[in-house]
């Protein structure tokens, strides 16, 4: 009894001290998260239900679901959702496949691999908006280098209206996005590939597996969890990546290349309608949350069923 009591009294100060230490170390980070993550989210929720237009600051106040109603009834809404879907999944498909291919190539040792890796990684280090402006000049119908090159190579007879036609505009921004995002997959997949045990690959070779069998039956299953995670992350990032679109088309022509996040910026910056922009932000958050739930459930079910 006495020993237990003594033991307890000895432990208490040490435990309290550890807790205090932990609190001291955690508090700064917690405060930062509260200020820079939770406060903006709470403020966004608040603004989403308010009439808050900077052009009309004398008429600010709660307006219920009015912002959401106006957004859904906006003739651009359906097109923006459709564009977002195309923007995310077409970009993702090409970024992933090209990125995977390049990562497989870069796993092998060859001459000047360092320079090659450096070149591949460059886009990731650049500002998306800045790159948007560069791509804008490249794609410009009248004085862009791309049309000039295609004309001189005899591949086209007339200039392609890259940025002045809605369909070509979407194609142009997606091409730029593929170029920009491939790097992410190269970096992440290369890291995952380097974690595949050599013994496993040697065993597959001894068992007579060819390259495709090794890839699809050994490598991909081994790095599956990484692939699921990076694809999910990338979907969220691409959805929230209006930089290139804003630099290249500002959502034009006539709003035909707007995705949900570029439309949000337009509402915020040009319409000065912080209420509508916040409502749109909340809708994006909800869409991504629901998508993430389904995605994770689907991938878990797939794993459990052994497909």
């Amino acid at each position: 009894m006495s020993a237990t009591f003594q033991g307890t009294t000895r432990k208490r100060p040490a435990s309290t001290s550890r807790m205090l230490k932990a609190l001291a170390f955690l508090t700064p980070a917690a405060v930062m998260i509260l200020i820079f993550v939770f406060y903006p989210v709470i403020r966004t929720v608040q603004l989403g239900f308010q009439n808050f237009n900077l052009f009309d600051q004398t008429n600010i106040g709660y307006n219920g679901l009015e912002n959401f109603r106006k957004l859904v009834e906006d003739p651009n809404f359906v097109r923006v959702l459709k564009n977002t879907f195309i923007w995310v999944f077409v970009s993702l498909f090409f970024q992933f496949t090209i990125g995977f291919g390049l990562a497989l190539l870069m796993k092998k040792k060859f001459k000047f691999i360092g320079i090659y890796q450096g070149l591949i990684f460059i886009p990731w280090a650049l500002s998306g908006f800045l790159m948007g402006l560069v791509w804008k000049w490249i794609f410009d119908e009248s004085f862009g280098v791309l049309n000039d090159a295609l004309l001189k190579l005899g591949l086209i007879d007339t200039r392609i209206p890259w940025l002045s036609n809605g369909n070509w505009g979407m194609a142009a921004v997606i091409i730029a996005n593929v170029w920009y995002g491939v790097t992410f997959f190269v970096i992440m997949i290369l890291a995952a590939l380097q974690g595949v045990p050599t013994e496993m690959l040697e065993a597959a070779e001894l068992d007579g597996a060819n390259r495709f069998q090794t890839l699809f039956q050994v490598i991909i299953p081994y790095i599956r969890s990484t692939l699921i995670l990076i694809v999910l992350l990338r979907i969220m990032w691409i959805t929230n990546f209006p930089d290139l679109i804003f630099g290249m088309t500002s959502g034009g022509p006539a709003g035909r290349t707007h995705i949900i996040s570029s439309w949000l910026i337009e509402k915020l910056t040009f319409d000065a309608d912080w209420g509508a922009a916040s409502a749109l932000g909340l809708m994006t958050m909800l869409i991504l949350f629901v998508f993430t739930l389904f995605y994770l459930m689907a991938t878990r079910l797939e794993k459990e069923s052994g497909v």
Partner: protein, 447 residues
Amino acid sequence: MSKLNSTRKAAAVVASLALAFGGISAATSSAATVAKDWSCKPTKAKPVTVRMIEYFAGPARTPLLNSFARAYEAKTPGVKIDLISPSQADSPAKITQLIQAKNVDIVEPAGSIYSQAVVAGQLADIAKQFKATKAYKFLTPFTKEMAEQTTKGKIYGIGNGYYTKASFVRTDRFKAAGVAIPKTWEDVYNAKSMQKDNQFVYAMRGARAAHSQALFVIHAYLAPNLNVTGLQTKDGKTIFATPEAKTALDLLLKIWKEAAPAASISWGYPEMVKGFHTGVANYLIQDNEVIQIVEENFEPYSKGNWAMAQIPKGPGGYSAQFIGAGGLWSITESSKCKNVALGFLDYITQDPQHALFARAYGVGPVTTTAAKDPFFKEGAWAIYSQINADPKELKYSGVRGPKLTACYGKAYATLDTDMAKLFTGDKTTTQVLKEWSDLLGAADCVD
């Protein structure tokens, strides 16, 4: 390089109308606080930092402003000028944020920011103190008149340069094609006969501020039946409900589709300027600072291959444009040391500082001494004397009441998108004009 067009700048400058008509009070501080705000005494021991943010940051003006700041710091111990120069794409958001955060002393509230800030009482009325400065004494009468006319005794901004629209014309191409330089909007359209592969007549603006193009033509067709707002006829009704607006917009659409590059649907300021100096378009309507850009990127004016002309007129022989300070400096209501901020503005608005700024940046001067500089009367600049002397090129001040200012601000992006929709065929001129009339002619837009 990029800059909002004068319509947007007009909306900003003009917001002073909020004061003129709305009587909106910007003074929210108590008398004691106001007095304290205007009586800072910076010393080396207790220095004062003035935070200043510019809207149109760029290589032609930012280094100059920084050199003015260092010179002023040297002559005024205890004062530090902290110039913030965001990219022009970031300017609107950054300036708005700083004003809202009450974390800036001097702002360049171009575009719609001025309207918003005046209506919200975020800019300080500096009339009394500014009129006592040396800079004020040397302002051109027009600048003084504009400042006081639009604010009825209150001053919320000090102009830092004028922008006036004129036409930039590739005379070599017009001569070669045997086509006369357009004097009317019909002439612009008819000049399409000179077009060749990737060489068009008109440098259209189809992206941000595209509706300014519609305003040019509608004004030319309506003038002199326009009031000072530039958005209403003399009887106070919206210009978009007039038959002239329909004729004008139909013509503009024809010009756009037949005499301008299709790519111009995505052209903003930099693209239309580049379109001109690279030879894709032979006729451009832009502000005075473009003179310098064309000289640097195409050819000096003296070579004679390009010239300046007045903007095209309508069937009645009139044209109209907003004339006002395109850029201006304002002191925020939240500034703790307004007298120090004003001291710096006084310094940079005086000559030789202002003359240097106007020449380097290519804007019309606001001071009498700079205005007398032959530089602003010769060569390409001579067109502005011609414009000033022409009674049939109307200059409207753009004074608008707070309600119309708010409506125009809210409608701005819609007007631009509708312009693009006209080109893509998603909307007709009749539909667009009806919508614009509804947006800007509604009862709650009338002051």
